[in-house]
Symmetry: T
């Protein structure tokens, strides 16, 4: 039997690192979506203030197996 | 505390202009989603009839801050 | 009156063919979403075991007309 | 029975707007090609003189159903 | 002596498969153009009705050697 | 004698239209740079507030002939 | 302990289908490389003769876990 | 009055250089098309025999002003 | 009143991390440019010596509001 | 005398960071390949379990000077 | 201590060759900018007159080490 | 019987021209690999010293028919 996956597009942010920004998006998604399986980074951006990086912002897609396309993510 | 954003992918259409097609998608999304923050245009297409452009169709991503990934967008 | 469409990003899989993988994603989405209209293939991948392709995995976007952005897809 | 479509690549220009530049290309193509069906914008460029945009130039593909591949477009 | 080739952009469609959609475009082009040599797939899309894929649409470029650029394709 | 051109990357914004956003960037650049010649649009984005597009933001490259690479743009 | 994977770039061909072309490349690679794990399709092309597709050619990357980077693939 | 341009996609070849391959395509197109204006290189490829490059093949688009979309190129 | 932004393209480097490489470019730019606002990562590369990564090099665009296009960045 | 370089495509993984994933691939390649010179990151992905990132996977190309194309990498 | 590099985007032109067009841009940039280090070709275009290529135009990025981001390039 | 091809990724360099850089990579590959068939240029870069291009560097893929995937290239 074939599986179907869905991807949702998120932007996570962190003051500290690219990795933390990824985890922040994954954590938020996992509050309401089961079966999170993988992520793919689309872009890395960030905000600067007074010559210092204030936030890393990482755009990513998070994929998960769907039992029901409408109820997830 | 770090924010997380979600992007949804829409296609708006208008008989009149690219800008109206963007607004039509944004308006529809705002009926059910709070906190719409920004959009990014992905593609501009349209339909022709009898040598005249009938509809502009603009594919765009709309981003918004999520309180709850599943309930928005 | 202008229509608005939404695209969701899915990955369908099949042991047999690219076409079956596309249909598997479309079928799953149609269980809960009305008005599915078109699809666009983004990527074709797959898993190999013992020198034989085991699954085709096709990433695609499925578009549909929205009456209500939040309730669909 | 399956349809076949052809795309031709045009650049329309206008002093006024992106939309007019699209329509100028569509109008010219419709003088000699039947069944123009849709367009896809590839690029938006333009010429500047004395600090003012003089022409918008929009590269686009125009698609149409072919009865005879050689005679159209 | 060097050869020159031309590419034309077509969209073939089929109810059955990606391969049939490619062949439908190649067949139509070959009715009026000699020397068709190769194709390159640009995109795979399709239409859905009632949760079932109705048509595969494959955008492709077809290349052929030109004796006369204006008379072919 | 061969000419050399330089491109600078700008983002113009406007409450009204894509065209105005382009012109705003061109106008600002022309205050201090001579010989602005052409532009190429890279991206179209914008900000939304309360379900309404507030600003179109157009990323573009502006090209101009250089007499002196360091002093321009 | 972290795994390392290597990707090699192949082109498989088949008279019959895209899927057969993929399998032909996977089969050839598996003759000499252990642990083939996944593939990613990069391009679909083909050769035409007398108005009929003669060969599908599928460019793909094949990934596998490496025990020894030099000895595989 | 606005001008409309058309682009056709060609592949020129040469035993000697990229520039000769470009010129070979431009020369062939100019036999039957008036007003050739500019070209844009899309890809540079070539054939090898016995460890020596035999032909450079340059894919390019050639643009020209159209008086009549159907009769040119 | 509409704002105009400029983007400059930099490459920062660091022995330690991607984040440090980004900050090194931002710090250098902030010595002479006011109002640095955001960055966008274009590429991540690096140099290897004796099997160990010696430097991460991150290509990025840094954006800032311009009061005067020529004097900044 | 001109140098020739070869690039091989690897995927490194790490539980901890993007940088560790890069280094893991570089280390594995350096076991069997001399003269590793630089890397270019192609993609950043990863696996999630129970709402937590389990592995960062970084796809990269590693370049090195070749004395003998067949014996390296 | 980490180095920072800047890239500027130029278009060089030449009646003779792609290489001359590159060198024309590099020469012009070197009149006012120290430390030019490398270039990356972005696009190759050109102008045609009477069926003959008149100018090759090569878009490129030129990179250099910055001591002072504002004063260079 | 279907053929399988492999592509390897090389960077050739030359003080003189893009064509020489391509040939340098092809020559090096042909020392150890039979059946080199075609190449595809991926990128053109180079190094500058004292305002003069010192080396053209051309990244390319070289394709060849494989009898044995592991022993070639």
């Amino acid at each position: 039997m074939s599986n179907v996956y869905k991807k949702i597009e998120l932007v996570g942010s962190s003051r500290d690192s690219v990795e933390d920004a990824i985890q922040s998006a994954v954590s938020k998604a996992s509050e309401t979506t089961r079966n999170l399986d993988w992520f793919e980074v689309d872009e890395i951006r960030g905000w600067i203030d007074d010559g210092v990086v204030q936030h890393y912002q990482v755009g990513l897609r998070v994929g998960f197996r769907v039992d029901d396309v409408a109820n997830d993510g």
